[in-house]
Every structure is written in structure tokens, then in C-alpha cells.
């Protein structure tokens, strides 16, 4: 398993924080579908999350398979570390 720089953890946490806002607002919107401010905030964090993941994947490899991330050669999605290993 390749050694991870300290930035890996801080950058991963930024993604986890942004995606947490998205999950939380997604559940909220199921029962408050007309809350425009919540929809705006949701979309703002979708944009942030996408941009954070683009940078993260360039440095550390794909986060997803099945076409949700572009693949590189060699196919780095299959490489460790997996989430429970970091």
C-alpha cells in the first residue's frame, strides 16, 4: 500500500464534510420539497463536492467506478487503500 501524505486526510475530510451537507439536505428535502433555500444550498454543495472530488481524484485516484469517474491507465480505482485501511 502506498504511503499517504498528510494532505490526503485533510482533503478527504473536506469531501466528507461537503457530502455530509448534501446527505443531510437530501433527507430534509424529502419531507420539505418546497424549501427553496435548502435546494439552493444543496446545489451549492453539489458544486463544491464535485470540484473537491475532481482535485482529489487527480492526486489519489478514482473514488468511484461504473462510469461515475473518468478512468486512467493503469486503472487506479482498484488500488489500495480502501476506506477501512486509512
Amino acid at each position: 500500500m502506498k504511503q499517504l501524505p498528510p494532505d490526503y486526510y485533510s482533503e478527504l475530510e473536506e469531501i466528507q464534510a461537503a457530502d455530509f451537507v448534501i446527505v443531510e439536505l437530501a433527507l430534509y428535502l424529502h419531507t420539505h420539497p418546497n424549501d427553496l433555500e435548502a435546494v439552493k444550498q444543496y446545489n451549492e454543495y453539489v458544486k463544491l463536492s464535485k470540484s473537491l472530488k475532481k482535485d482529489f481524484e487527480r492526486k489519489y485516484g478514482a473514488l468511484t467506478s461504473f462510469g461515475y469517474s473518468y478512468a486512467r491507465c493503469p486503472f487506479d480505482y482498484k488500488e489500495a487503500p480502501w476506506p477501512w485501511q486509512v
Binding site: 466528507q16 419531507t31 477501512w84
Partner: protein, 189 residues
């Protein structure tokens, strides 16, 4: 269709190798009110629940799989460096004899997971009340686990999971109200 993301929903850290804590935590992996039971309960009920709440059950059920992975990570990290003697001292010799360090879907007492832990009544109010109860029981379990644990890093993750149960319960309660409103509206012509 589901898509896997190669990250945990929330960071999981443990302070030290501690198979005793892992033995307790496995309750939320393969126990009656654990994350596997939660995910399978909601994702199974959603096919016959009114359209208004299918999305909520789908998304909460999906989040439960992220929590299942967090619990698995906790158990893995707490046991990965344990010797057979440490496993034995933690009361995990029975687990070790069958599974070595592999995880398995059983509760803290070693009872394997069973589908009888979950219900599907086909009645939306009955199903959602079951879901609310399941979330409250899971919240209570996380509290007992935090009370049993002396690992501050682990407790940070457990507190996060406990708070998610509170949110899920809240959303399910709102879903019940949405269905009741719709039912009452239908009576007026």
C-alpha cells in the same frame, strides 16, 4: 442501481487495538437494531410504500450501508493487530475459532443475523412506525456503546452515528405526518 464511493461517510479512528470493544460493536453490524437490519428493512419496504415516501426510504436505506461500512471499519481497526490470546481474553475465542479475524453478521452475543429482525407489513403507517422504533432502538444502542467505550477516537464516530439515528427518526416521523395529511384530504369531497 447503486454506486460505491471509495470513502467513509465520516472518518473512523480508533486509539488502540481493543477486541473487547469490537465484540460490543458487532451488535450494530449484525444485531437486531444494527445497520444491516436497518438497510435491508427500509430498502425492502420501499417497493410497496406510497410514492410520497419511497425516496426517503431509498436514501435512508442507502445511508445505512454507509454506516454499516463505518461499523465494519471500527471492528476491523480494533481487531486487526490482536493476537489469538487477546481475542480469547476479549471473549472472542468462539468467533476466532470460526472466522479468524473475518467479520460476520452476528450480534454482541454471537447470535447470527436473521431476517426475523425486520418486518414488512405492507401497511405504510405500521411500516413507518416500525422504522421510527428501529431508529430509536439503534440510538439507544449507540448510547450504551459509548457508555461502554473508553476510546475517545472511537466515541467520536459513535456519536456521529447516534446523531444520524435521531435525524432518521425525525424524517420518518415527518413522513408519517405527510401520509396522514394525504389520507385526511382524501376524505373531503
Amino acid at each position: 442501481m447503486w454506486v460505491y464511493e471509495k470513502k467513509l461517510q465520516y472518518p473512523v479512528r480508533v486509539s488502540t487495538c481493543n477486541p473487547t470493544l469490537a465484540k460490543y460493536l458487532i451488535e450494530q453490524y449484525g444485531g437486531a437494531d444494527g445497520e444491516l437490519a436497518a438497510a435491508l428493512r427500509y430498502l425492502n419496504q420501499r417497493y410497496t410504500i406510497p410514492d410520497k415516501v419511497v425516496g426517503l426510504l431509498t436514501d435512508i436505506g442507502t445511508e445505512e450501508f454507509a454506516h454499516l461500512e463505518m461499523i465494519a471499519t471500527m471492528v476491523y481497526k480494533l481487531t486487526k493487530d490482536a493476537t489469538p490470546d487477546q481475542m480469547k481474553a476479549a471473549g472472542l475465542s468462539g468467533h476466532f475459532a470460526d472466522h479468524d479475524k473475518a467479520l460476520f453478521y452476528h450480534n454482541a452475543a454471537g447470535v447470527p443475523w436473521t431476517a426475523t429482525y425486520i418486518q414488512a407489513k405492507g401497511d405504510p403507517i405500521a411500516d413507518l412506525y416500525e422504522d421510527i422504533a428501529a431508529e430509536e432502538k439503534a440510538r439507544a444502542t449507540y448510547q450504551w456503546l459509548i457508555d461502554l467505550s473508553d476510546d475517545p477516537d472511537l466515541n467520536d464516530g459513535l456519536r456521529y452515528l447516534r446523531e444520524r439515528e435521531v435525524i432518521h427518526s425525525q424524517r420518518f416521523r415527518e413522513a408519517v405526518e405527510m401520509l396522514k395529511e394525504e389520507r385526511d384530504r382524501k376524505k373531503v369531497f
